[in-house]
C-alpha cells in the first residue's frame, strides 16, 4: 500500500474541527487567496513542463481526451435520473459537477506522484483546464432538454464558463509558465509557485475539511444512494480515464492523472455555472455529494486506487 501523504491529514483535522465544533475558522480572504494561488501555481507548473514539448504534437491527443470527457455527464445523468430519482434539473446539475474536475484533487494526485518521483506529462494541466467546458455544457443540455419553462441563458453560461476564475487562471498560469520556460526565466517565480505549493495545499485542505464537515448533514439526508454514487461513479470514471490514458500512450503517471481528472468532480466552478444555467437545481445536493463524499474518497482512497489502475493497464503486454 502507498503511504498516506502528510498533507491530506490537514483535511482530516479540518473535518474533525468541524465535527467537534472547534472555533477554528479560515478567514474568507485567506480561502480565496489560497485558491487563486493554487490555480495559478498548477497552471504555471504545467506550463513550465509543457515548454519542453512541441505544442502542436500534443494538441490532438489532448483535445481527444477533453472531448471524450463529455461522456462522463452523459453516463451519470441516467443513473441519477432513473435510479436516484432526482429531478431532471438536479440530475443534469450533478452530472455537470461530476463531468467537471477538481483542481485540488488533481493537486493531491500530483503530490502523490512527486512523492514517488514519478514522471507525468505536463499538458495534463491544460486538459484539466479545458475539461470544464464539455462537462458544463453537456450537463446543462441534459438539465434543460425538452423541459418547458425559462430559456437557458446560453450566452451568460458560456461567458461564466470561459471567463470564470478557475479556467481563466489555469490558462493564464499555463501561458505564463510556458513563456517562462521558453525564455528560461522560471527561476525566481518558482520559489513561490512551486516551492510553496504543498504548504498552501495543506492550508487549503484544512479549510476543505471544515467545508466538508459543514456539508455532511445535507448529504446524510439524501441517504444511501448519493453516498454510493459519490464513491462508485468516480471509480468507474477513473477506470475509464485510466483506460483512455493507456490507449493514448500516456506515461504511468499521466495515465493516473487522467484517471484522477475523470474521477474528480467540481465544487467551485460547477456550482457557479449551474446557478446561472440551471437555477432550479438544488446546489446543496451537488455540492454535498461532491465535497462531502467524492472529494474525501478521492484524496484518501481514489488516488492510490487510480495509481494501481494505471499500473495494472501498463502491465498489459501490447
Amino acid at each position: 500500500m502507498a503511504t498516506l501523504q502528510p498533507v491530506v491529514l490537514f483535511f482530516v483535522f479540518g473535518v474533525l474541527a468541524g465535527v467537534i465544533k472547534s472555533d477554528l475558522k479560515i478567514p474568507e480572504a485567506l480561502y480565496k487567496s489560497l485558491s487563486l494561488f493554487l490555480l495559478i501555481a498548477i497552471g504555471f507548473k504545467g506550463g513550465v513542463a509543457m515548454s519542453k514539448y512541441e505544442i502542436m504534437e500534443v494538441l490532438p491527443i489532448a483535445t481527444a481526451m477533453v472531448v471524450l470527457s463529455a461522456l462522463i455527464p452523459l453516463t451519470a445523468y441516467p443513473i441519477l435520473r432513473f435510479i436516484g430519482k432526482f429531478t431532471q434539473a438536479d440530475s443534469g446539475a450533478i452530472s455537470a459537477h461530476y463531468g467537471s474536475v477538481s483542481a485540488v484533487t488533481f493537486a493531491v494526485g500530483v503530490a502523490f506522484l512527486a512523492a514517488k518521483d514519478e514522471y507525468s506529462e505536463g499538458y495534463m494541466v491544460l486538459i484539466m483546464a479545458l475539461m470544464e467546458i464539455p462537462a458544463l455544457v453537456t450537463g446543462t443540455i441534459l438539465a434543460r432538454a425538452g423541459a418547458s419553462g425559462g430559456e437557458t441563458k446560453w450566452g451568460k453560461l458560456m461567458h461564466e464558463i470561459l471567463t470564470g476564475t478557475s479556467l481563466y487562471l489555469l490558462v493564464a498560469g499555463v501561458i505564463i509558465g510556458y513563456y517562462a520556460g521558453m525564455v528560461k526565466m522560471v527561476e525566481p517565480l518558482d520559489k513561490m509557485f512551486m516551492d510553496l505549493f504543498m504548504g498552501v495545499l495543506a492550508f487549503f485542505l484544512l479549510e476543505m475539511g471544515l467545508l466538508a464537515a459543514s456539508r455532511l448533514k445535507a448529504v446524510m439526508a439524501k441517504g444511501v444512494f448519493l453516498i454510493s454514487f459519490g464513491i462508485l461513479f468516480p471509480m468507474m470514471a477513473g477506470l475509464f480515464g485510466a483506460y483512455l490514458g493507456w490507449i493514448f500512450g500516456l506515461s504511468e503517471g499521466g495515465t493516473m492523472l487522467l484517471a484522477v481528472l475523470y474521477a474528480s468532480c467540481s465544487y467551485i466552478a460547477a456550482p457557479a455555472a449551474m446557478r446561472i444555467a440551471v437555477p432550479d437545481a438544488d446546489p446543496a445536493i451537488s455540492i454535498g455529494a461532491s465535497l462531502g463524499v467524492t472529494f474525501p474518497f478521492n484524496i484518501f482512497l481514489g488516488v492510490p486506487i487510480y495509481w494501481e489502475m494505471s499500473h495494472w493497464f501498463h502491465t498489459i503486454p501490447v
Binding site: E28, Y31, K32, L211, I268, R275, P283, I287
Partner: protein
C-alpha cells in the same frame, strides 16, 4: 421638528446578483442618493442566505434611500414590476431629513 423635511425612507433587500439591475432602476427613477450595505444575510422565501458561504454565492445587499414624496412614487412605479423577479423585500416608511448636508435626494 425644526429644519427637517418630511420624506419617505425605502429599505430594499435583494440578492447581490440583482444589484446592477436595482441601481439602474433607481437611476432611471431619478434617485440622487442612496446608501448601500453589502454582506447582508437573512431568511426569506428562498431559505437561509449566508454571505459568508464560500461555495455558494448567497449574499444579499441592502439599499437605504431617502427621497421626497413625489420622487418616492416614481421609485415605487419603477421598482414594482421588477420586485417579483428580485425577491427579497422593499419597505417604505416616513422619516424626516435633517437639513444641513448638500441636497442629495
Amino acid at each position: 421638528m425644526n429644519n427637517t423635511i418630511a420624506m419617505k425612507r425605502f429599505e430594499i433587500v435583494v440578492g447581490i446578483e440583482k444589484l446592477e439591475e436595482l441601481v439602474e432602476i433607481l437611476d432611471n427613477s431619478g434617485v440622487r442618493g442612496y446608501s448601500l450595505l453589502k454582506n447582508v444575510g437573512g431568511l426569506g422565501s428562498r431559505g437561509v442566505r449566508d454571505p459568508d458561504d464560500v461555495l455558494m454565492e448567497e449574499e444579499n445587499i441592502m439599499v437605504v434611500l431617502a427621497c421626497k414624496g413625489d420622487q418616492a412614487q416614481k421609485v415605487v412605479d419603477g421598482l414594482r414590476p421588477a420586485l417579483k423577479s428580485f425577491g427579497g423585500m422593499c419597505l417604505i416608511s416616513d422619516c424626516l431629513w435633517l437639513e444641513g448636508p448638500p441636497i442629495s435626494y
